[in-house]
């Protein structure tokens, strides 16, 4: 009876849906795969040529990722979650840098091209099959993220080599303006990984303003605020679907762990943290109940999921490859 109860409980708490991720033994054979939950079936769907991290389209119909281009260099490919068909985008430049980011309406993809730190934001219109540079000719831009369908926020390099820092920039088709209102304070700090929440008028991002790397949130009424605030480094903010939480990586436990913070209450709680292994790359389930992430708790990077409210953790991949970069399929309406 107890055995039956255990199984029933496991079925009840198991996460559902699909997770795209990378599986590999080495960087060279990194391949986009899709994991079906709760069954655990894994379907390789990527080109398997140094594939980069996967990004679901907002309607869950496509997965975009960077991989080796057919001729040379790198490029963006789209693939159906079942691998049934793919679309190879054509780029003006040889080297394309990811991860590609979908516009909220799912009609455009943003990424960067170029070499060194001299990179530019490119936007690919999937309807017209055209690629266009956004921003200005003079401003180098990295790591774009959409803030609505007509505006991008990106990291812009500032200064000369040897004295280089970054600022965040609002970018449109023809402009790239420093997002001065977002900086906690002026100075030669390096902001990184902006993550907008357009419906709330908020942006989460990293900065070393204050001495070490912290998660800041800009909200219209409050300005920029350090919401992770710890002497150990805090990285990689990821908004929950509702905007109630930000998951992030922190070294406050010694090794890299996954934590979450409510940006209003500024209260941090651990999701997966340990002294002898790392947990990283958090990805929210569409209902915001689960966080998938990578953990090397058994020596090999594998995907785990934790229900933060129920304090329930399960291993969701257990094959003989290394797994990285989970991304949960959005809810399709």
């Amino acid at each position: 009876m107890g055995f039956i109860f255990t199984i029933a409980l496991a079925v009840v708490v198991a996460p559902e849906g699909q997770i795209a991720f990378l599986a590999a033994t080495e960087q060279e054979d990194q391949q986009v795969c899709v994991l079906n939950l709760p069954g655990g079936e894994i379907t390789p769907i990527g080109a398997g040529q140094r594939d980069g991290e996967p990004a679901w389209s907002p309607d869950g119909a496509w997965i975009a990722y960077i991989t080796q281009a057919p001729e040379s260099g790198t490029g963006v490919r789209l693939v159906r979650p079942d691998g049934a068909s793919e679309r190879i985008l054509k780029h003006a430049e040889e080297w394309v840098h990811g991860p590609p980011v979908w516009s909220p309406d799912g009609t455009k993809l943003a990424y960067t091209t170029g070499g060194g730190l001299d990179q530019r934001v490119m936007v690919y219109d999937l309807d017209s099959d055209t690629e266009e540079r956004w921003g200005t000719d003079t401003q180098s831009l990295l790591r774009p993220a959409w803030n609505g369908d007509a505006q991008i926020i990106a990291v812009g390099t500032v200064g000369e080599p040897g004295a280089l820092s970054t600022d965040l920039f609002w970018v449109t088709k023809t402009t790239a303006n420093p997002a001065i209102e977002l900086q906690a304070s002026t100075g030669t700090y390096v902001e990184w990984l902006p993550k907008p929440l357009p419906e709330e008028g908020a942006v989460a991002y990293e900065s070393n303003d204050g001495g070490d790397r912290e998660i800041f949130v800009f909200a219209m009424k409050r300005g920029a605020m350090d919401v992770s605030n710890h002497r150990a480094a805090d990285w990689n903010p990821v908004w929950s679907p509702s905007g109630e939480w930000i998951a992030f990586e922190s070294f406050r436990g010694g090794r890299r762990g996954v934590y979450r913070v409510n940006p209003v209450q500024v209260r941090v709680s651990p999701i997966a943290a340990a002294e002898d292994h790392d947990n990283w790359a958090p990805a929210w389930s569409p209902d915001g109940q689960w966080l998938a992430y990578v953990s090397n708790r058994d020596g090999r990077p594998r995907l785990y999921a934790t229900n933060a409210d129920e304090d329930e953790t399960i291993a969701i991949t257990q094959h003989e490859l290394n797994d990285y970069a989970p991304a949960w399929r959005p809810e399709t309406k």
Binding site: Q27, G116, Q119, P161, R255, D276, D298, G299
Partner: protein, 375 residues
Amino acid sequence: MREMKYMDSHLFVSAAWRYFLATQIRKGNCPHFSSGILLVVLFATFCSLSQARDANGLLEIIITPNDGMPALLLPGETFDVVATRQAELSLSSESGIIPLAAEWTELPGERMKAICRVPDEVPLGGYALQAAAEGATDTNLRSVFLFDAFPDRYTVAHVTDTHVGSGRHDRTSEAIFQDVINAVNESGAAFALITGDLTENGEAVQFKNFIEILNTCTLPTFVCSGNHDRKDLSYEQAFGPDAYMFWFGKDGYLGFDTKDFYVADDLRAQPADLQVYRRALKPARWAIGFSHRYEADMGMRAQLALFVDDPLDWFIFGHWHRENTEAEQTVPWAGATHPTPITVTPAAINGVIRLFDIGPGGITPGLVQTVAETK
């Protein structure tokens, strides 16, 4: 019986080598010797190679420390041993086997870690680390070096891009590398950093040949992987982790792998190691990074940790097969306190090395020295 036979044969080799190193280290970490002594050392070390690692020259029971990542210690200090299983650990010396007391704990990935204390009375010098478990014996040559003190001022030898197995010159890559190691032995350096492209294309036989020559070095040698070393997991099987740190007195050193497109791939585990190690090295007088390669667009996560938030005091690498120019004196990032200066040493396959003077006044790269003919 098998174990005793090994111990006897190893005793002889270890004796000559260890005696020599102990003598030199007592002279102030500046091994300097005649060619006659060198021959003895080389012969002794070569004799012992069949006892070290497995038949392919790869790591067996003991993962670290090893001859590419040794432990540098004062008598009485502790050091960590990472192994595939629990074993009886000892140091090989001219007086026989010196057992080590070890406290074992489990690590993720079915590995074990032992914290070992070196007894106070153990003589100074270089040692092989030996593990015995379940009828098998494993020896990592040149894995533990005991110093009487770590000097405030010392010399570091930088060797890079040895490309063992390549046919780029009239002389073999092995012959050139042997000359380079001979020069390092005579350099007066405290230890050597060998920063990647150890082999031409990561073949197991190339690693085996590299290791054989490496083990003729009388100094501690610290290696890291380069883009040419990346075939399957050859480097990891030969030397273990792709990122590590060590202390030499007041100074901290951080070695890491640079992948083809990344300083450290943002998606993987290495950036976390670099963050942890960089933080651990905060108290260092000088925090010095060494790796194979650096390009400004090679992944940002590791760069934030090493060059932006808590910038290293110096960064040493190769890959370019040339020196850095006047316009390439630092990484591009301003850094929270300073931009990290860089020094790029040309390739050892072309017969060159560089020495660094490390002292209270700073880190001073010497001129590139030609130490081997290529024709």
